[in-house]
């Protein structure tokens, strides 16, 4: 799979420019500040699990153009959700509760990796091989004892991918790249017609992208 570099249509947009505008009230600024500055420590996952999950997240939502320190953090927020056991209000009957599901899922992904690639751990594979593992997990019948206790498809789509995507797109960098102007409170929108763009929103620049 040839990976094309991602090109945002809004390369110059920075949602944080409107930090002090009527678009953001105090509590919104506090939430954004917390998300940017207070990355929680790893308290639920083991080091190994955290590293594996980091590698998995990097395949689900690659951030190749960013240095490590610039990347939108994903693993710490998943870790916090599980450490504090903040649940989603429902789960599928055959699935274990979220803490067990994540532990089993990470274990299962490694089992599948070892089965497919001669005993190697997921983190030690190159990206294309990692994609092969994840494709097996998401759409096939992956090898691994853990998948007897946890539906691989359900884990991959409804838990792993959904959570990674939600966390990624809760970050201002992700808002910038899709030209999303983030929270709007107390100010709302005025130019609600088709193609209408309020002055504080992101103008589209890269039409050929």
């Amino acid at each position: 799979m040839e990976e094309e570099p991602f090109r945002s249509r809004y390369p110059d947009y920075n949602v944080l420019d409107k930090w002090s505008s009527p678009d953001w009230d105090d509590q919104t600024r506090e939430v954004v500040r917390h998300r940017l500055e207070e990355i929680p420590p790893i308290r639920f996952f083991t080091d190994q699990e955290a590293r594996a999950l980091g590698a998995i997240a990097e395949r689900i939502l690659p951030q190749p153009e960013r240095m490590e320190f610039e990347k939108v953090p994903i693993v710490p927020w998943i870790d916090e959700k599980l450490y504090e056991d903040k649940r989603d209000g429902y789960r599928y009957e055959e699935m274990p509760s979220q803490r067990e599901a994540w532990r089993l899922g990470l274990k299962g992904i490694n089992e599948t990796a070892k089965a497919l690639f001669s005993g190697k751990q997921f983190v030690d594979l190159d990206p294309l091989s990692q994609d092969v593992v994840l494709t097996h997990v998401g759409w096939g019948s992956p090898a691994g004892e853990s998948w007897k206790l946890l539906s691989s498809e359900r884990f991959f789509r409804d838990i792993l991918c959904t959570t990674v995507v939600k966390i990624y797109y809760a970050h201002p960098l992700a808002w910038n790249e899709i030209g999303y102007n983030g929270p709007s409170s107390p100010r709302g929108h005025v130019r609600k017609w088709a193609g209408g763009v309020d002055p504080w929103e992101a103008p589209e620049q890269n039409h050929s992208a």
């Binding site: 939430v31 209000g89 429902y90 009957e93 409170s185 709302g188 088709a194």
Partner: protein, 230 residues
Amino acid sequence: MRDLSREEVDFCIVGAGAGGGVLGAKLAEAGFSVVILDAGPHWNPVKDFVSDEIASRKLYWTDERITGGENPIELGSNNSGQGVGGSTVHYSMVAMRAHPEDFIRHTLEDDVSGADICDWPIKFEDLEPYYEEVEEALQIAGPTFYPWGRRRKRYPQREHELNASAQVLVRGCAKLGISVAPAPIATLSAPHRDRPPCVYRGFCNYGCTTNAKSSILVTYIPRAITFEQR
């Protein structure tokens, strides 16, 4: 905040949402003393609501429901709410009446094999005065002409302007010969008492910070509280 632990009251209601809030207000206005309990806090929209999906999870009831069977329904986090106002704090405000036919489906449609259809024990006419009362209390903003159902009084507030995606739907429906109307919603399109009209932030499902949304929190609950005699 009064300590009510030693007081005797006439009624104790569990849940300060659409059911409990309305019941509490009506009982208070009838002269009874009422305590309403809720699992969550008494929200202050201007300070507590944040326009952020993750941070707004505090509004939802996230105790774990189980979904199963052959085709399990994917549930959501925000089917129910916690806190005063309940799920009306974060629902999408659509305020449509049932149709008269909905109450007599069995009469209209005969039996369906494998299903237990029956008529409601009440008719639309029984609910009609309550629909009117609540639509007035919540100041529902709806279309001047509503193409379906019984002839009705005008909505208390004018319909909201259709946004771009709605206009696409309207054009498509016009080509297909499908009649459309803006949905009546529980959000102000004009000022009402001390609440301003909607400014179209688009974060209705995360709590309205401008109080334009006519949730139970900002309508029936203040009525229940202000009617206190003491």
